[in-house]
């Protein structure tokens, strides 16, 4: 049995964190008959105790748990078949029931047709409390559901609580862990108790003492967002954490480069730091270009290293401040470089065709004149556009 299951809290007393959520949930079960809304939606990041609390509640209040989770097919008919029966049949032991529908945001739009609608119907009919869980309650799929449920937020588990949880397991499992390794697990877990426990378990195989280097490869496959990645790159000193910033990130490295460029002057304050960070970015970008040109994509490894570790090391001191990272300038995004270059090229080709110049040089000769005319005299601009055979994209470029 895995640590995460084996050592999951079994009672409300053991379930330490999430006080507000616990209070709300207990209140809901106790006073269910008087509740206007017959379902709770537990929401929050993974590993914060949503499902765990539902199970504890069933146990503490002596309720039979009826569960429907993401591995089941969850279209309307299926939900009715499994849960409808549970609602209609009295419990054999005359116990009450608690209905748990896990990961409702995982209900598939097409495959699980009518799933959400059916859940709403159940909520309206149910004599038993229903608990739903989701990571993101604002998922558009759940819009119609939201007015029938009470939202209960689960926060990321704090570092102190994570430490407590991990040390307790170590004690029970007879494992020793050094302080640095513990910190690292907690750092990577990012408020997710389950992943912290899994990391601990993985590192403990065949060992009684866990040291820092036993962990490195074991960090979780969790999708990061760009802000977390930026934090890993900019914050802290020491490249190990920074080097992992791009893993499991849902962005291309070329886009990450734009984000970093935008935020370098926000994060770093000394010219040396800014210039050096930019220089690493610039070189990373160069490696990307070479990788494409030579079709030798291994070179991207170096781009990755420069973007993460290079930028991380560009600072002289750690900035403890909070930085509000901004998305890359709109203006730059509007003309993604490839687009900019492509349009410039196609305009050059068209000038070259009419004006006996090379495409290479035609924009240099004619660009300023065209720009000026397109800006100041629409009528002439249009006439020239039709003379050169320019398309909308090219006209937009010249008129900008």
């Amino acid at each position: 049995m895995s640590f995460a299951i084996k050592h999951a809290p079994k009672s409300l007393r053991e379930f330490g964190d999430q006080e507000t959520a616990v209070k709300k949930a207990v209140d809901f079960i106790k006073n269910f008959k008087r509740m206007k809304r017959k379902a709770l939606l537990f929401y929050g990041p993974p590993g914060t105790g949503k499902t765990c609390l539902a199970k504890i509640l069933a146990r503490e209040f002596g309720l039979e748990l009826v569960e429907l989770n993401a591995s089941d097919k969850r279209d309307a008919a299926q939900i009715r078949r499994i849960l409808g029966n549970a609602i209609l049949q009295r419990s054999l032991s005359h116990r009450g029931k608690l209905i748990l529908i896990d990961e409702v945001d995982g209900i598939h739009g097409i495959e699980d047709r009518g799933g959400v609608g059916e859940i709403i119907k159940l909520i309206q009919e149910t004599p038993y409390p229903i608990i739903l869980t989701a990571n993101n309650p604002y998922d558009p799929k759940l819009r119609s559901l939201r007015e029938y449920v009470e939202l209960v937020e689960f926060k990321k588990i704090g570092k102190r609580d994570l430490r407590k949880i991990l040390l307790r397991i170590c004690r029970l499992e007879n494992i020793e862990i050094d302080e640095k390794a513990l910190d690292l697990i907690i750092e990577f877990a990012n408020g997710d108790a389950r992943s912290a426990i899994n990391d601990l378990e993985l590192a403990s195989f065949g060992r009684k003492l866990i040291k820092e280097e036993d962990l490195l490869l074991n960090y979780r496959d969790r999708e990061k967002n760009i802000f977390e990645a930026l934090g890993m790159i900019f914050k802290g000193k020491g490249i190990r954490r920074a080097l992992l910033a791009l893993e499991n990130l849902d962005r291309e490295i070329s886009e990450v480069i734009l984000w970093i460029a935008e935020n370098i002057p926000r994060e770093y304050e000394k010219p040396e730091e800014i210039a050096l960070a930019y220089d690493y970015l610039s070189k990373a970008d160069l490696f990307l270009a070479r990788a494409v040109r030579t079709q030798y994509y291994r070179l991207e490894v170096y781009a990755n290293i420069l973007v993460t570790a290079g930028v991380n090391l560009a600072k002289k001191e750690e900035y403890k401040k909070f930085t509000a990272y901004r998305s890359p300038e709109k203006i730059a995004r509007m003309w993604e470089t490839t687009q900019f270059r492509r349009t410039l090229r196609s305009i050059s080709d068209k000038i070259s065709e009419k004006c006996h110049t090379s495409s290479e040089n035609s924009y240099k000769y004619y660009g300023f004149m065209l720009k000026f005319i397109f800006k100041h005299n629409k009528k002439w601009g249009n006439a020239i556009a039709s003379y050169l055979g320019l398309n909308d994209e090219e006209i937009k470029f010249l008129s900008y």
Partner: protein, 321 residues
């Protein structure tokens, strides 16, 4: 009113319409009359009439069939010497149409070819001498290998004189019913630096604003060709206003449609005019070269320029200490 590109609309169609380059024009006129021309090499700066005269030669020799008998190639655009050779071969294989016994191949910007490519070109020229004449044009004849130079009659084109530019612009002004003040004409010449294409393009841009053209309009247009914003951006970076500099640089590039390479060339030219110690200028120029190289290697031009500005920012700060 029909608008097109004036450099084409007013491109001289006959030897007599050409302004400047008097001796060259006279010689070419004689050659063309005799219906026998050697291979030609036209060397000189842009906008001095090289392509125009090549086109006139073709028109005079082949009359209304000139298009079929002329192959225009551009060395900077063709993908290597092999495509050039294939195109030449295909073109020169068939007999010329009309009474002239050869066709004309105009190879523009021939100095863009590497030395190896020029050697290959030399052999191609020899192979097709009986059926084709080459007119090569380039900015610097020194970049053309000697064996090619020795096979050609060489003509050196000079920047056009003030009189020539003025005469040409006055002709266009009359046809387009423009009122050009003397100062404006003077300014147009200054801005053009003896480049007729630049003079005409500047004039056309001015005319899009008003049919009465004064020198202020001319300089406004000239600002589009050499945006002073670039200089300001550099000063901002050196002054420690990096974020502002970066923002202005991107918007300047987009406003004028300046490519990364062109922007970096402008930066390089501007550095010399900055109020900095010479040692710093040299250091900056070396850095600029490095970033230009990165762009040429295919890196993102905006990012590279931003990174370059960060270097200016750094140097600016170190100077203040």
């Amino acid at each position: 009113m029909e608008i097109e590109i004036w450099t084409e609309k007013y491109r001289p169609k006959d030897f007599d319409e050409v302004v400047g380059q008097d001796e060259i024009v006279a010689r070419l006129k004689e050659m063309t009359k005799s219906k026998n021309i050697p291979h030609l090499l036209f060397a000189g700066p842009p906008g001095t009439g090289k392509t125009t005269l090549a086109l006139i030669i073709a028109k005079k020799l082949f009359k209304d069939r000139w298009k079929e008998n002329l192959l225009e190639l551009n060395a900077s655009d063709e993908r290597g010497i092999d495509t050039i050779r294939t195109k030449v071969k295909d073109f020169a294989r068939t007999k010329p149409i009309g009474e002239v016994p050869f066709k004309i191949i105009l190879l523009d910007e021939a100095d863009a070819l590497t030395r190896d490519a020029q050697q290959a070109l030399r052999r191609t020229m020899e192979n097709f001498t009986s059926t084709a004449r080459f007119i090569l044009s380039c900015n610097y004849s020194s970049k053309i290998i000697e064996p090619i130079q020795s096979r050609c009659a060489i003509f050196r084109f000079k920047p056009l004189s003030k009189e020539a530019i003025k005469k040409y612009l006055a002709r266009i002004a009359e046809a387009e019913k423009l009122k050009l003040s003397d100062e404006a004409l003077e300014a147009l010449y200054e801005v053009s630096e003896g480049d007729a294409r630049k003079a005409v393009n500047t004039l056309q841009a001015c005319a899009s604003l008003s049919s009465k053209i004064n020198e202020d309009i001319v300089y406004e247009v000239a600002g589009y060709a050499k945006p002073k914003e670039i200089m300001e951006v550099l000063k901002l970076s050196l002054d420690g206003k990096f974020e502002e500099a970066k923002k202005n640089m991107i918007s300047t590039m987009i406003k004028y449609g300046i490519s990364g390479i062109d922007a970096i060339k402008m930066i390089q030219r501007n550095v010399m005019n900055l109020n900095l110690p010479d040692e710093i200028k040299i250091k900056l120029l070396e850095t600029i070269g490095e970033y230009e190289f990165r762009i040429v290697e295919g890196a993102d031009e905006f990012l590279q320029i931003e990174a370059l500005l960060a270097q200016f920012y750094l140097i600016g700060r170190s100077l203040k200490r």
